[in-house]
């Protein structure tokens, strides 16, 4: 700017090339700033953002499941073109980020440009107005009123304003004229700026998340300890797992699945909840925690979410009916997964394994969620003697099979009940320093949007002048920054109130 002033000063002197370059730069910067701070440019950016987002919706993104199939079906030219344009990952491509950055800049600059003017509505209120100006307002009226004095009339108008909700009033006198100014919700002029602060905050949070946030999966089998999580990185139709070290160890102590129909399969449709109990161990000691559906657990800035399950059928507990070989009352024993039970005679029965479907045995990768032919495999150790393997089938199944009939440790076994549970659970672990910032932004945005759109700054002025014969002429005018329909109603009520005509509308 100083360069520009300098050139201006040297009238008649041929500007040096440095000066004219500086002038060009400065005028370039000015027009760039003007462009960047214009609302029109902001709207254009919004339209560009809409277009880019639409592209991202219509062209499958590489992180979406099934992308490899979609990619394979595209023609080589499409693959090349979309790939070159970054359309398979458009929300992370440089120009998308640049667009968001320019938009943020636009918001900041446009706010700086406009804020001082908005601030004057609060700092330097317009308290008086001429008759011509008042008559040109959205709402205006002229009244002829009788009264004792200008002052008492002004007070009456001021009270009328307050009675229709224009609570803040101010009476000023200038010579032979008295002005009444009344307004409500002047702060509403600033609401829009608060909205934009909230938006910038959300953008900032998003930036923090995308640069410092990490999300990984951890598969947990009861009894197993893990200290890493796996993140998936995408590169077009290829994806590769990335292992991340955690600052603590996680041991799974128990998993549980709550079913709607207990005799139904362990599918998502028959489930109301999955629960994972974990023990977290680090230098500060051990912490027991429960993670379940829609109830994450927070620890040291990490959040654990119940994410997935392997639908191979297992049992959380089994109830086995033991029939003594030598006759006598059968005995029911309940054994937890990976646990054991001790009989009164000292026999220890451990649950060695559980097959949800005997025909597919213990292949944990097979979907055996419907428990077609279940069997519990037990490890039976009598007080004296060798441990041996026993099979417990449900009553009515394999009644005559030698493997089911053979007594082990003095008993035969039948599986009378079991609690269904999947083979393993997966937790999703999130470490996101941005989400708090985003949440604060959300809160601010919700509040400010309500403040902006559900309120409006409404102003009314009255000019009182004394006319011949003790009558007063009052010119009223008013405007609003939003919600003209409601303001029109309010203004009409005000006029009725002042003129003393019966009110047409009552306010509740």
């Amino acid at each position: 700017m100083s360069a520009a002033e300098e050139t201006k000063g040297k009238v008649g002197v041929k500007p040096t090339w440095q000066a004219s370059l500086a002038g060009a730069i400065s005028s370039g910067v000015t027009s760039l700033l003007n462009l960047l701070s214009s609302v029109r440019f902001g709207v254009s950016l919004l339209v560009l953002l809409v277009i880019a987002s639409m592209i991202g919706m219509l062209i499958m993104q590489q992180s979406v499941e099934g992308f490899d199939k979609y990619y394979a079906e595209l023609t080589p030219s499409q693959q090349f073109l979309y790939g070159r344009l970054g359309w398979f990952d458009i929300y992370h491509v440089w120009y998308f980020n640049a667009l968001l950055l320019v938009l943020s800049l636009n918001i900041v600059l446009a706010s700086i440009d406009r804020f001082p003017k908005a601030w004057t509505f609060i700092s330097r209120k317009k308290l008086d107005a001429g008759a011509a100006w008042l008559k040109g307002q959205e709402q205006s009226a002229e009244l002829k009123l009788e009264g004792e004095s200008r002052q008492s009339l002004a007070e009456r108008i001021s009270a009328a304003c307050q009675s229709v909700g224009l609570k803040k009033t101010k009476i000023t006198e200038k010579g032979a004229r008295t002005f009444v100014f009344a307004e409500m919700n002047a702060w509403n002029r600033l609401g829009a700026y608060a909205v934009h602060v909230a938006l910038l905050m959300i953008f900032l949070g998003g930036f923090l998340t995308s640069h410092f946030g990490r999300t990984g999966m951890m598969w947990l089998l009861p009894g197993v300890t893990e200290s890493t999580m796996t993140e998936t990185e995408f590169d077009l139709d290829q994806s590769k797992p990335v292992t991340l070290q955690l600052p603590f160890e996680v041991t799974c102590t128990d998993i549980q699945q709550k079913l709607v129909k207990r005799d139904g399969p362990i599918t998502a449709g028959n489930t109301t909840d999955w629960l994972t109990r974990i023990r977290i161990k680090d230098e500060s000691g051990e912490h027991d925690a429960l993670v379940h559906m829609n109830a994450p657990y927070d620890y040291r800035g990490y959040r654990f979410f119940q994410a997935s399950f392997a639908p191979a059928g297992m049992a959380r507990t089994v109830t086995v009916r033991l029939t003594p070989e030598k006759g006598g009352e059968p005995l029911d024993v309940t054994i937890p997964r990976d646990g054991s039970a001790t009989l009164p005679d000292g026999t220890v029965i451990a649950l060695a394994d559980f097959w949800a479907d005997v025909s597919v045995r213990d292949d944990k990768n097979v979907d055996t969620s419907d428990y077609n032919n279940p069997a519990a495999i037990l490890n039976v150790k009598p007080p004296q003697g060798q441990a041996d393997r026993a099979f417990a089938f449900p009553p009515g199944m394999a009644e005559n099979a030698p493997i089911a009939k053979r007594p082990v440790g003095g008993y035969t076994y039948r599986l009378v009940d079991f609690e269904k549970v999947p083979y393993m659970h997966a937790l999703s672990i999130q470490h996101d320093p941005g989400s708090t910032v985003v949440y604060i932004g959300f809160g601010l945005l919700a509040l400010t949007l309500v403040a902006v759109f559900f309120f409006s700054h409404q102003r009314v002025w009255a000019l009182i002048e004394e006319k011949a014969g003790g009558a007063y002429e009052v010119v009223l005018g008013g405007n609003t920054n939003r919600n003209r329909l409601a303001f029109e109603g309010r203004f009409k009520r005000l006029i009725n109130n002042i003129s003393g005509k019966p009110q047409e509308v009552e306010e509740s």
Binding site: S53, Q430, V438, Y439, R482, A486, G489
Partner: protein, 548 residues
């Protein structure tokens, strides 16, 4: 809802209105009655039980009928203003909103009862989840029911200003279309995945349905504003015709206009009473040709109207209007043919056997695709399927079609969005035709343009705030349930795009030189994006929200 809806007003108040408007409460009576009535009905449903009570499906149909009746009265009132038509319109709207909300509430109770039986029979009532699990926000049917309610209640709340009661003439047919779509989707209950069983679901989806409803009414006012502002009916006709042609071109997997299948319309088939269709489409005779005729007529309408607008050629205008009416008839024929074929079709045979007669049949070109689909259903690897030759696949497909022919059926459920889109295109043409009738008189009866503009702005503001809340609650829900508040999922992005468009609308008013009409176009586009988010994403794009 918003200040404009809450503040009493005396705009254009006649002596009669002053009397009617004595109390704010009275001006909101219809809305209060509709809401209170449905709460009572739902309480009654809880007390009486489901057996001898009207079903949610029946209530939905009653709502649909009430909305349409109300729209007819409102339209009558627009062309020939009479107080009885206005009153009947208002009360039918009230009835529609009452039935609409009742249907939703009764559905909630029904969903609860259904699982109550399951827990009761197992003797595990104590373990039964809380009532919010059964809130009808589980699939597109539920959302449509709530969306139509959102549109209905917004219309009813705005109707407290007598000047804006006519709005129902446009917004209620749209609400009825949404209910019709719900009807096609079908109201079977789904087993709710546990992850959706979060208290954020009613908050998020509730906000969705209400803000979509406001967006719908905003669109209706924007259209009326454009009409009032003097946009020629012919220009409306061009846009509605482009929309209709786009619908005809895209439905049935682009088959109607594509050269290799020109003039054929195919619909997905079902085996027996299955809930979802199979990967086999049946040809519906005549429907395709009726659509081609409609498309050609619409194209001719566009050309003649452009000629009129360009050269002020009155003859072209006259011809354009005739063509528009003809296309309306052709579209009606296509829809009727479609519906009658779907109703009558049973045991769909290969076309070779029916000899191209008037019944729906399976074209032999479908066999190969069908066989591939069956192999995919059996979770075979793509490489494995690729090893099969075309002949093999074709033979397999034909064999399967012949074997299953007695069980093959058609249903409007096959593609509810296609059918609804066809009906929407028809409705669009119908409305444009209606607008063309005594247009000047119609314009006179509408409120002043500034008032309409002000209402568009108000509603867009509410829709903008609503969509912002929608996005935020969705993000919080996602972060609390999945640990990710934003993932550029298609539905998220769709709502975001619609929100940005409303944002652009709001800003366009403070940018110099963008007033009235230009802003109104933003409001129209924003609503189209809302609809795209609501339907297109679920049916066209993959993602998290594909359930609803």
């Amino acid at each position: 809802m918003s200040e404009v809806l809450k503040q009493p007003a005396i705009i254009g108040s006649s002596g009669q209105e002053a009397k009617a408007g004595r109390s704010v409460l009275i001006s909101y009576l219809p809305a209060i009655l509709a809401l209170g009535g449905s709460v009572l009905l739902v309480l009654l449903r809880i007390r009486v039980g489901g057996e001898h009570f009207v079903s949610d499906g029946a209530l939905m149909m009653l709502a649909l009928a009430s909305y349409l009746t109300a729209a007819v009265f409102h339209l009558t009132n627009l062309y020939a203003p009479t107080s009885w038509a206005q009153k009947l319109g208002l009360w039918c709207t009230t009835l529609g909103v009452f039935f609409n909300l009742s249907s939703w509430g009764v559905r909630w109770v029904a969903a609860h009862d259904r699982e109550f039986q399951t827990y009761l029979s197992q003797g595990r009532l104590a373990e039964m989840p809380w009532a919010f699990r059964y809130i009808p926000f589980a699939n597109l049917y539920d959302l449509s029911l709530a969306f139509a309610f959102g549109a209905g209640i917004t219309t009813l709340l705005i109707a407290h200003r007598k000047n804006f009661r006519f709005l129902g003439a446009i917004s209620l047919p749209l609400a009825a279309l949404i209910l019709l779509l719900a009807r096609f989707i079908g109201g079977e209950f789904i087993e709710l995945p546990a992850v959706l069983d979060s208290y954020w679901r009613p908050i998020h989806v509730g906000i969705a349905s209400l803000s979509y409803g406001v967006a719908l009414v905003c669109f209706a006012v924007a259209v009326i504003y454009l009409l009032k502002d003097g946009v020629k009916v012919e220009a409306f006709a061009i846009w509605s015709s482009i929309f209709a042609i786009a619908v005809i071109a895209t439905i049935s997997k682009f088959s109607v206009f594509s050269p290799s299948t020109f003039g054929t319309y195919t619909a997905s088939t079902f085996i027996g009473d299955a809930r979802s269709p199979i990967g086999l489409r049946a040809n519906l005779p005549y429907v395709g040709w009726a659509l081609v005729v409609s498309g050609v007529l619409l194209l001719a309408t566009i050309i003649t109207f452009i000629k009129y607008l360009w050269q002020k050629d009155e003859a072209a205008r006259k011809w354009g209007r005739r063509l528009l009416k003809l296309s309306l008839v052709a579209q009606a024929c296509a829809i009727l043919l479609f519906v009658s074929q779907v109703k009558s079709a049973a045991a769909i045979k290969p076309c070779a056997e029916t000899g191209g007669a008037s019944a729906a049949c399976i074209d032999e070109r479908q066999y190969e695709k069908f066989a591939v689909w069956v192999h995919q259903q059996q979770k075979e690897a793509p490489e494995q399927i690729a090893m099969l030759s075309s002949e093999q696949l074709r033979a397999e497909g034909e064999e399967m079609v012949r074997r299953n022919a007695p069980l093959l059926k058609l249903s409007p459920k096959a593609n509810p969005v296609e059918l609804s889109a066809l009906i929407t295109a028809f409705a669009g043409t119908l409305f444009v035709t209606l607008f063309g009738f005594r247009t000047e008189k119609l314009r006179e009866h509408l409120p002043p343009a500034e008032k309409l503009d002000s209402l568009v702005y108000k509603l867009a503001g509410v829709a903008f705030a609503g969509l912002a809340l929608l996005l935020m609650t969705g993000a919080v829900w996602a972060n609390e349930s999945w640990g990710r508040y934003w993932g550029w999922d298609s539905k998220e992005t769709g709502a975001f795009v619609a929100w940005l468009t409303y944002g652009a609308f709001l800003h366009s008013r403070i940018a110099r030189g963008w007033h009235g009409r230009k802003s109104a176009y933003f409001a129209v586009v924003a609503f189209l994006l809302v609809i795209f988010t609501y339907l297109g994403v679920s049916y066209l794009l993959p993602g998290l929200h594909s359930y609803a």
